[in-house]
């Protein structure tokens, strides 16, 4: 673990800013900025949904991704799928059978790493909504610069590797990447992301404790 600790000192995540309960009408909402990238997520549920999409075993997650500039695209569906699969793992859906939980993501600013920001924001919004969770999750993005070095945050890098870890075992739930990189880089990136996820979890704790103090 020694090496990892050193890494922690060497790398800093982009500044994060968050506000919970940003929207009054949603059951839970959060707005999160990571660097210049800003996402807004609202969570509603569990609530009544169409009988065709109901499941008797668990609640159905409905994810809606709204890009800033209007027109829907195939890439939006992909992002929805990433968020759905990740949240599905985290939400204790079996507590709410035959219901739906709607998560709506609104893109506000995208300066790279939006999906990672949206995932963290979704996690905070889920926390805010009071839906029971198995664990929380944190998404960290690493970039690979021209020299082949792994950089946390990775703004402006062509090659980016993003990993989502859970809060209990710190195991990998989701990962996705852009660009090409070698095997060693990949393993290093995953390790660094894993170390950095601690920071994100600490941030979560901070936000939530502030929020609960306020109430």
């Amino acid at each position: 673990m020694g090496a990892e600790e050193k890494d922690l000192r060497d790398f800093k995540l982009q500044p994060m800013k968050c506000e919970l309960n940003f929207l009054s009408k949603s059951d839970g909402s959060a707005i999160l900025s990571q660097g210049d990238t800003v996402a807004l997520v609202s969570v509603n549920g569990p609530l009544d949904i169409k009988s065709t999409s109901q499941s008797i075993e668990k609640s159905t997650l409905e994810i809606l991704f709204c890009s800033k500039g209007g027109k829907p695209s195939v890439a939006d569906r992909y992002k929805e799928n990433v968020i759905r699969q990740t949240c599905e793992k985290a939400v204790l859906g079996c507590l709410y059978p035959r219901t739906g939980i709607t998560i709506t993501i609104q893109e506000l600013e995208d300066f790279g790493g939006f999906l990672s920001c949206a995932l963290n924001c979704a996690c905070l919004a889920l926390l805010n909504s009071g839906v029971s969770l198995r664990h929380v999750f944190a998404c960290v993005t690493c970039g690979v610069d021209e020299k082949g070095e792994v950089v946390l945050g990775g703004r402006g890098c062509d090659t980016q590797i993003s990993c989502v870890f859970d809060s209990i075992d710190k195991t990998l739930i989701t990962c996705f990447s852009e660009g090409t990189y070698s095997e060693g880089t990949y393993l290093e990136a995953v390790a660094r992301c894993r170390a950095a996820s601690e920071l994100v979890f600490a941030f979560y704790r901070d936000v939530v404790s502030k929020y609960s103090n306020a109430i």
Binding site: K89, D169, I173, L187
Partner: protein, 283 residues
């Protein structure tokens, strides 16, 4: 009997197999299914390939069209890939516009493909700002029995490797276009990305990796995109995707990369020998 058991207790049925170190179709955990490739079997397409990985069958057809390039990128041609999940390949799909699932698969495919940079879009431009090739690659799934992205990438690469472009003469004065389909230049393909999927199944205390999962195994391991897909092009990773599903441990990852590498080499060999065969028959 076995089928009824599978219907009533799908999870238990699966568990029974896995805990005895074998998969329901008789494979070992790291065994992949047979790959069959057949190129240029469709004459209406410019290039085509039929790929079977076990039961999973996909057909890729390439068509060429001409268009003016985008104003923002006047030196680039177009390469459009789409995955079509026809209703006939599984009862899960209904006719109509592509489902969310099909869109995710399409996106993953084009993402892997563009990340691997195996085709330079500049090669597809004929006259900058005036004329460029549009390469439509439609990948049709005829039978979806898991690891669809793997099969799609193989089909796409096999057909692109056989694709050749007709010569085009463009007269800038009259804007007249002439195409001679008899004189062709093959398309430059740099490398060959190969995807390998692994399903992660969490058996108490043990995470099991299943290479090249079938549709049933995928479903048992968390469904849509929950399996781990690694894509390698010339030894470099050009995409890995895993969305939700069971957790993946660190020590599994090295194992995964090793298997993926072996498979990548194997697939490249299969494609190359298939194309060679086809050419020798042609002669």
């Amino acid at each position: 009997m076995a089928e009824i058991y599978k219907l009533i207790h799908p999870v238990k049925y699966f568990n029974d197999y896995i805990s005895r170190d074998i998969r329901p179709d008789g494979r070992k955990f790291h065994e992949q299914r047979n790959i069959k490739v057949n190129v240029n079997s469709l004459k209406t397409a410019e290039a085509s390939a039929v790929v079977k990985c076990g039961n999973t069958t996909v057909v890729c057809g390439v068509q060429l069209e001409l268009a003016t390039p985008k104003a923002e990128e006047p030196e680039l041609g177009f390469l459009v890939t789409n995955v079509e999940l026809t209703p006939l390949c599984s009862s899960k799909y209904r006719p109509g516009p592509p489902s969310d699932n099909a869109q995710v698969q399409s996106y993953m495919l084009s993402d892997i493909f563009s990340n691997s940079k195996c085709i330079d879009l500049k090669d597809l431009c004929i006259v900058p700002d005036k004329l460029a090739w549009v390469v439509y690659c439609d990948i049709v799934c005829l039978d979806n029995d898991g690891s669809l992205v793997d099969a799609c990438i193989i089909a796409l690469m096999a057909s692109l490797k056989t694709l050749s472009l007709p010569t085009v003469t463009y007269d800038p004065e009259t804007e007249e276009i002439k195409v001679d389909p008899d004189v062709r230049t093959p398309l430059k393909v740099d490398g060959c990305p190969v995807a390998t999927s692994f399903a992660v199944y969490k058996l108490t205390e043990r995470n099991i990796l299943l290479t090249d999962p079938s549709a049933y195994e995928e479903e048992m391991c968390g469904g849509l995109g929950a399996h781990f897909t690694v894509c390698l092009n010339k030894g470099l990773i050009c995409g890995n995707h895993k969305f939700g599903g069971s957790h993946l441990l660190m020590e599994n990852q090295e194992e995964v990369l090793k298997i993926a590498k072996e498979r990548a080499n194997l697939v490249v060999k299969v494609i190359d020998s298939c194309i060679k065969n086809e050419k020798s028959i042609d002669k």
